[in-house]
Amino acid sequence: MCCTDMALAYVEAHASWSAANTRPSLGRDYAAFLTRGPDGSARAAFAVEDVRCASCMSTIERGLAGLPGVTAARLNFSDRRLAVTWRPDAEPDVPAVLSALDALGFRAQLFDPGSRPDAETAETKRLITALAVAGFASMNVMLLAISVWAGTVSDMTPENRDLFHWIQALIALPAAAYAGRPFYEGAFRGLRAGRVTMDFPITLGIVLTLVMSVVESLSGATHAYFDGAVMLLFFLLIGRVLEQSMRRRTRMLAENLAALRSEGATVVDADGSLRDVPTSDLVPGLRILIRPGERIPADGVVERGMSDLDHSLVTGETAAIAVRGGDTVFAGALNGNGALTVRVAAASGSSLLDAVEALMRRALEARSRTLVLADRATRLYVPLVHAAAALTLAGWLAAGAGWHAAILSAVAVLIVTCPCALGLAIPAVQVVSAGSLFRDGVLLNDGTALERFAAIDTVVFDKTGTLTLPEPSLTDGDHPPGILALAARLALSSRHPMAAALAKAAGGAEPVPDAQEAAGLGVRALVDGVELRLGSARFCGAEAEAAAALAENPAASVICFRAGDAAPVVFPVHQALRPEAAQVVEALLAADRRVLILSGDRAPAVEAVAARLGIAEWEAGLTPLEKIARIEALQRAGRRVLMVGDGLNDAPALAAAHASLSPVTAAHVSQAAADALFLGRSLTPVLSVLDAGARARRLMLQNLWFSAAYNLLAVPLAAAGWLTPLIAALAMSGSSVIVTLNALRARVATGARPAPVAIAGRRAPPSAFPLLPGRP
């Protein structure tokens, strides 16, 4: 497309009475999203929604293979990403791919190549390689070790035993040097920061075991512990790999969601041409075009156009605010029915986002979260074990045994207590719980959040977008059906969020032909010589009716419809409660938890919601600062607060609370601050996380007690010098397997969970879980 066309499109986007406002895509330049291969072939990555079955995969791949210039289209089913490659000589045609996907019934969005988590993928690969090496080594070393154990009770000659020991050393030493690096590095990092992490005893245990085994082999002793060292590494690496892949998967899906919510901006160049760029490329001074129905990507000042903005994601305020040239707009606000040209403002430190971030930093510094279980276990474990080893050494020396025997026993204590079970006890539960939460539609940002969820006794909700659905919907009532159907068809032509609520009532009907949108006013069309109008009260001449409807329903907004000279009809639109919100609040209150609403919205709107949900404690019109103050006051009074919120204004409160949860429709900053995100429309994930947290904490404690009991048994055995490699191998593998099996109960329990899940919208419309792994 040549630039005159694009300039024209830009002018059209601003013009009144233009169908261009409703056209999904103007001319765009996607170059910023493409990467070039070594042979010059272009590649682009897309996040694809609604991929739910195996046949979708071949539908998409075959559907795209026929496009001109496309050499390969491959869909990654695990992370729902599509990679498209073009021939080096072909012009990459991104819109063609998007429209082909659209025709196949899939919504897709381009990915910003800069944001792809290459470091994370590399780390996963490194850990899996280390796991493969440790697995190979432990299998082969164990094979030789078992021969030695069998040989000690039969007729193996000392020469053969030594040979077998040296072969084991040959395998185990390089394998441990390679596969143990994640632990060695972790231990060094910890020590440099002045902390003793769990990596430290692991490293110490492995190194000492290997050194002692080499020394013993040199002196031709009966026992060597090479098998124990590599087996330990193998088990611990399993835990690490699971943890890492959980983290990576959560992040990739969260990124897909971010991309699907169009994290791009349209830049207007000096000549009027339009370019699509990732939001991260926006710099102060750029002019950006925001079409009706789009979210504002960055703070700025309106240069041209007028519209009304929905700030519900920013301040929690549901009433629309009118903006015009010269007004300041904030990132995250949803544009109404006019196109705006905005000049991106410099990061002056005075924008709303800056204020929120400063508050978040303050909240994070002030927060004194209790030490997580793993840290507490490490703090107890490390000195106790090392004291036990020192005591063993001293005891044997005092008893008159030689240095050799005394050191041998002390090292045996360190080997047998090497935190195999302890190292798996908590990550295994976290991974299994995260997996079962994932199936319930909750993405966990932080594994340690599970323990914090377990301690919650107070739940604070934000109202807009959290207790209510993020998008408005038509208020129930007796709307004349014929008029409603006609208005809904007309609403299909508008991109205004309130019109979208009305359009849902259209139920698959065709839009009215030749409908035209008037920026800032509404839509109109001519049908059978009668002029239909849909839009603001002024546009339809329905001020009186609108005022009456608002008086009756103070929390609602209105959209008006008029056919010719007939009396105008007013449709109240409000933000409906999330499904099951009432049951969730009831269940929370029944479980003796305190429930509060802290909202930034107007008092009447908050009061109405609180009354319907039976929440006695609510406050309205709060600023972010006041929200934190309320939460900190609650926490000072000894309450453990779970904050559930989505708005930019909730982000500091999310950071300040003991634990936090956000819907996936939340503002960027809030998503980053929350411990977990939930997908879908239902509010039941609030119960799921509290349940999962309590269950996970119980299992973690069981595992920790089991590990303690195991050590209590094994340490005297090792201190007494009775620890043969066979016993060490059995004890280590046995305890690890038991701990892992116990962790798996976190998953079993979910399947049989009663009431809360029964109401957890399992039959929600498919689009409610756009990115969950579905089974065909």
Binding site: A54, M57, L75, S78, M139, I167
Partner: protein, 45 residues
């Protein structure tokens, strides 16, 4: 017992072969889409 000197290297060589195959599979991206692979095998292209 000399047979050991033959058998053990063979066993180790076979094991190493497996390890190399695993690392190669990892490097060539065969673990990138574990869920997709289980369906892809059913498509006859």
């Amino acid at each position: 017992m000399n047979v050991l000197l033959l058998v053990i290297p063979i066993a180790l060589a076979l094991g190493t072969l497996g390890l190399v195959a695993c690392v190669w599979a990892l490097r060539s991206g065969q673990y990138d889409d574990i869920e997709g692979a289980e369906y892809r095998v059913l498509h006859d292209d």
